[in-house]
């Protein structure tokens, strides 16, 4: 039971990050490999704000602001000039941005791991089981954010425009949609979600290094591909699935050490059976 909740909660973190990958892929048709490093940016922002003010809520708010700004600035400076360039050039740029962010963090904070103390609300019991309140918070807040995002995409003009742009940029433009603005908003939302993910991640693993974002980034990317890259419900499903599998595997001593291998094997199996992912839709490329 507690393994299940832990899994769901880790899954919510992966899902929040995976949403950033999948939305940017769906709308800008690019793999933003620097997305994981936005989590690291969020983590250091939380650390610094906590050290300066001691106020955890302010820390979260700042981290959302800084992550959102970083995402938007990266898009504007690094990716926007490459619109229409070959996917390989964009991918290499994204990897470059990733190294850049990690190097900046290393310059400012050094490469040593920094501990961080976040508010701990202790444990609560459900039946006979003890569960970390932080885990439950992750699950509940993560769920609310994802429900909100789903509503936003389905029900608002901007959300509908995002769906339209992801399907056909030219046709969306003929509706009067400012495609560049929609891409910017997508990066902003993805980065804000990453800020939440970084907070929840630190609640589970309270130490920070410049490469902190790499592993959850790769896992979440895996989740996005498993769920069907470009699909928002797919990213949520893939994230939760991966989180559950990870926690279940870790809870079984004989399998535990092979957890990561199992997760990536799952990716390979899914790609073999259904290359577009569980909820992925075939999209016809249009010029």
């Amino acid at each position: 039971m507690s393994t299940f909740i832990d899994g769901l909660s880790l899954g919510a973190i992966y899902a929040l990050i995976a949403l950033g990958y999948t939305m940017v892929y769906g709308i800008a048709k690019m793999l933003n490999f620097a997305h994981g490093d936005i989590i690291m940016v969020g983590a250091y922002t939380i650390l610094t704000t906590l050290e300066l003010t001691g106020n955890p809520y302010l820390a979260i708010a700042f981290s959302i602001v800084i992550c959102t700004i970083s995402g938007v600035v990266i898009e504007k400076l690094a990716y926007k000039p490459l619109r229409g360039a070959s996917p390989l050039a964009v991918l290499i740029t994204a990897i470059g941005v990733s190294f850049f962010l990690q190097s900046i963090a290393q310059l400012i904070y050094g490469s040593k791991s920094r501990p961080i103390t976040l508010p701990d609300f202790g444990k609560m019991s459900i039946g006979s089981q003890e569960i970390n309140v932080n885990t439950v918070i992750t699950l509940v807040v993560g769920g609310i954010i994802m429900a909100g995002l789903t509503l936003f995409v389905k029900k608002t003009n901007t959300g509908r425009a995002m769906q339209a742009v992801s399907e056909d940029k030219g046709a969306a433009l003929l509706m009067g949609v400012n495609v560049n603005r929609i891409i910017m908003i997508t990066f902003a939302i993805g980065s804000a979600l990453a800020a939440f993910a970084s907070l929840f991640y630190l609640m589970q693993i309270p130490s920070i290094t410049p490469t902190l974002g790499s592993m959850p980034g790769i896992k979440a990317f895996t989740a996005a591909v498993i769920g069907g890259i470009g699909s928002i419900p797919g990213a949520m499903l893939g994230g939760v699935l991966l989180g559950l599998i990870e926690k279940i595997c870790l809870s079984i001593p004989a399998i535990g050490p092979y957890t990561t291998a199992i997760e990536f094997s799952l990716l390979i199996i899914i790609l073999l059976v259904k290359p577009i992912g569980i909820l992925g839709k075939k999209i016809r490329e249009k010029v």
Binding site: Q163, A164, L174
Partner: protein, 236 residues
């Protein structure tokens, strides 16, 4: 003064010149058609006017304003839009959401609902399929949706790129009837067609495009009776 004026337009795909300095105009209240064989450059012309393909040389003036470098989404707000070649409806959205996308530039929510009701009366099939995913419509129904969607923004000038392409004869007639009707309600039309006979039958004036240049122009009636046009485009 013409509503739309294209002057010495040149468009390139890489090194290849697709449009070789063409000029034409559309006056307010007209139906103007641009006819020509496959590959003549009709779509390129239409898309470059809307800013979907960059213009190398020449100018596009709309309503007295130079829009050569204005981004397409702003041109839509100025009152000009296009039903693109191949319809390009949003396959994964519902019919209703497609119409809402068409009204993206309109802020008045009540007006949008009225317009949707009106479109659903004009195109009965869309009314019946309002909540259906657009990708499941037939080709002809998708063309209706593409036209209804474009009408949602209340264009002063509507461009249509081969709206009859790939449709059964019944739908072809329907499409031309709708264009005529919509023109009567006060919209200027620029129509691109391979179906020259049909296009000339509803147009006021016409231009013939041949490998990126305009080879002929005149009133639709003159072109319908022109021997060269008859031979090349009317199958006579």
């Amino acid at each position: 003064m013409a509503l739309l004026e294209v002057k010495n337009l040149e468009v390139f795909y890489g090194m290849i010149q697709a449009i070789r300095g063409i000029s034409f105009e559309v006056n307010e209240g007209e139906i103007v058609t641009l006819i020509g064989a496959n590959g003549a450059g009709k779509t390129t012309t239409m898309q470059s006017i809307m800013g979907l393909i960059p213009i190398k040389k020449g100018t596009v003036t709309y309503n007295g304003q130079d829009i050569t470098k204005v981004p397409g989404h702003k041109i839509v707000r100025m009152g000009m839009t296009q039903v693109p070649e191949g319809r390009r409806i949003f396959q994964q959205l519902t019919v209703y959401d497609n119409l809402l996308m068409g009204a993206y530039t309109i802020d008045d929510k009540k007006k949008i609902q009225q317009d949707i009701d009106e479109i659903c009366t004009r195109f009965e099939i869309l009314g019946e399929r309002k909540n259906q995913i657009a990708g499941t419509l037939s080709g002809g129904e998708q063309q209706m949706l593409a036209m209804g969607r474009a009408m949602m923004s209340h264009p002063k000038l509507l461009m249509l790129d081969e709206p009859s392409m790939g449709l059964s004869p019944i739908f072809v007639d329907k499409v031309f009837d709708i264009i005529k009707d919509y023109h009567k309600s006060g919209t200027t039309i620029l129509l691109v067609e391979q179906n020259a006979k049909k296009a000339l039958s509803i147009a006021d004036r016409a231009y013939v495009l041949e490998t990126g240049s305009i080879s002929l122009s005149g009133t639709a009636t003159d072109l319908l009776n022109d021997e060269a046009v008859k031979k090349a485009y009317l199958g006579a």
